[in-house]
Symmetry: C2
Subunit: 349 residues, 2 copies
């Protein structure tokens, strides 16, 4: 009997579907049917698959996918996390896609280092940012007109050797819904940076002001003022209990608590579990994989529970940059970067 | 580009998956891939497809599916709603499957009136209840041993001409996951009554005391006492806003509010919408279908909204038995029968 989970739909136009993350235990690489889908616009119709590199460069050029595939490539195991992942957990609530835990997935991406590609164009010394334009476009609710999905990276991040133009997903061509034929992959940044259906790269000496750069994907700490806003970039340190499920019941004995932890700055150093509302914490076992710099890590904790009753399980990760998950979520008007300590309620019968 | 919703997984062992009800607007009949799945046990292995009718009857007998199909049949458009539908909305929260809005689906069921079938067995005059035993069995968390899924109906409900032994779903044989080859369909009762993979029917002169009759599917008003408990039977009057989605944003203008309403006692008579926190209510347009006694009705309401801001939309249904949805949910320890007025939050930009 085939038992399998499916994507959870948050909206269909555009398509936004969440990965069933609690049912993909101990998986490092998700097949495309389980990879979350996050779109701003209808799926694009692809005209040309050539990528055009221009702007503040000495030698603008176009390159075809087959030419790109002849360049030296690298394979990276990288999680993509939507900046709005877990938005539904903020209080007061936030309008927008009500993502729960599953706007995060992981796969192996094969592609060419953007640095290599840009070196062929000879970037001019006044370059400050690199703009990436996808083939997807459409209307916005808050402004008139049509907009392409476009984002920029500061030059330093664009030239990081692991920022790649990917053409393969888990060893096969990119699935159409995940950016075929070419997409950007920006490890350690929230996934709004990893532009799909990439068709143009523009080197610029000006800060890019597109709406997905300056209106969306910005942390606004206040409801009615734009003061102290700052751009969404690096993924916050975070962790998730995949099992047991929230509000599930279990028999007394040993209950295996399992999940993942990830960060955009350095490595996960510690995952701790509390079953007494944060009074005491115990270390979970980390399944480290040294050669994977960016991947999430799996962890587990065997909890010996003898007394019947209702319990709250908390999980907290700490990374090598010293960052740790906050007890209280850092509320912001558009609901990005949620990484508060998770709580899962269980009843022992 | 194929855009479609999927079932939302609540658990896989046993399989419990919710229908994507918000993305099935104006549909009266769901294909099997969108019908919610609610199981207590692993899927059964079917040995014999004969149905055995015995107990307090003069002529116990077995009947095969092909014999059953030769009897007079009826087709009924009947919604099935899990008694735990919307459980996740109770406060304080309730342990168990965290069903949101989608533990409800509707289909056309073809089958033989149980009344006809029982008449062939000659029920004895001391008969009080009829027990239905499915082929699915397994362990329970709260008791040792193995249990079949079994439920009883009072004789009166069992003999209602529309209580049927169904063998077809939307004109084709029952899907395996929905009870193939035979399942009970009990219109107007929550779906725990509509036993799947039906293999035995026992007429009895005693109240049935199986755990799915006397432990589960009972309203317990108090957390720590069993006082005032009563069995879960008839579906409560209820309604659902399918569109707009909760916490969605819209432009000012006419926003179409759409959904369904249903009841287990009589017909839906009125559906009302409030956009001012319940101070005033306006009637929605009902799409009535007189010949369908049990089906949910579709309704809509064109809301003219000019002022930007955040709004809460409320919906309230009233049925012909005079029942209406309560403002505050009627909490009960196992979380059954949720039917409080729904609220959907929208932001007009």
């Amino acid at each position: 009997m085939k038992l399998r989970p499916y994507l959870t739909t948050r909206s269909l136009m555009p398509e936004n579907q969440e990965t069933p993350i609690h049912f993909l235990l101990r998986e490092s690489v998700f097949p495309a049917r389980y990879f979350f889908r996050r779109n701003h616009f209808p799926f694009p119709e692809l005209e040309s698959s050539d990528l055009f590199i221009h702007g503040q460069v000495q030698r603008p050029f176009s390159i075809s996918v087959s030419q790109l595939k002849m360049m030296p490539s690298k394979k990276l195991l990288v999680p993509l996390e939507c900046a709005g992942n877990q938005r539904a957990k903020f209080t007061p609530p936030i309008f927008g896609e009500q993502w729960k835990d599953g706007a995060i997935s992981q796969a192996v991406w094969t592609g060419v280092s953007l640095r290599e590609l840009l070196s062929l164009a000879y970037i001019q010394s006044n370059a400050k940012e690199v703009i990436f334009i996808g083939a997807d476009f459409g209307k916005r609710q808050d402004m008139d007109g049509l907009f392409y999905y476009a984002r920029s990276l500061p030059l330093e991040k664009a030239l990081h050797p692991d920022t790649i133009i990917a053409y393969e997903y888990n060893g096969t061509p990119l699935p159409f819904k995940h950016g075929f034929p070419l997409r950007l992959i920006v490890p350690q940044w929230y996934a709004m940076a990893s532009v799909k259906w990439l068709k143009q790269i523009i080197v610029t000496d000006q800060p890019f002001t597109g709406p997905f750069q300056t209106i969306d994907y910005v942390y606004y700490p206040y409801k009615y003022s734009d003061e102290d806003k700052k751009p969404v970039t690096t993924i916050n340190v975070n962790s998730l209990i995949q099992s047991p499920l929230d509000y599930s019941t279990h028999r007394a004995g040993t209950l295996l608590i399992e999940g993942i932890a990830w960060t955009g700055s350095g490595r996960i150093k510690k995952v701790e579990i509390s079953v007494d509302d944060g009074k005491t914490w115990e270390k979970a076992v980390l399944m480290l994989c040294e050669q994977e710099r960016y991947a999430w890590i799996h962890w587990h904790f065997a909890w010996n529970v003898r007394e019947k009753g209702e319990y709250t399980i908390l999980v907290k990760a700490t990374d090598s940059s010293g960052r740790t998950q906050p007890s209280v979520p850092i509320w912001n008007r558009k609901g990005y970067g949620y990484n508060a300590i998770q709580n899962v309620h269980v009843k022992i019968e």
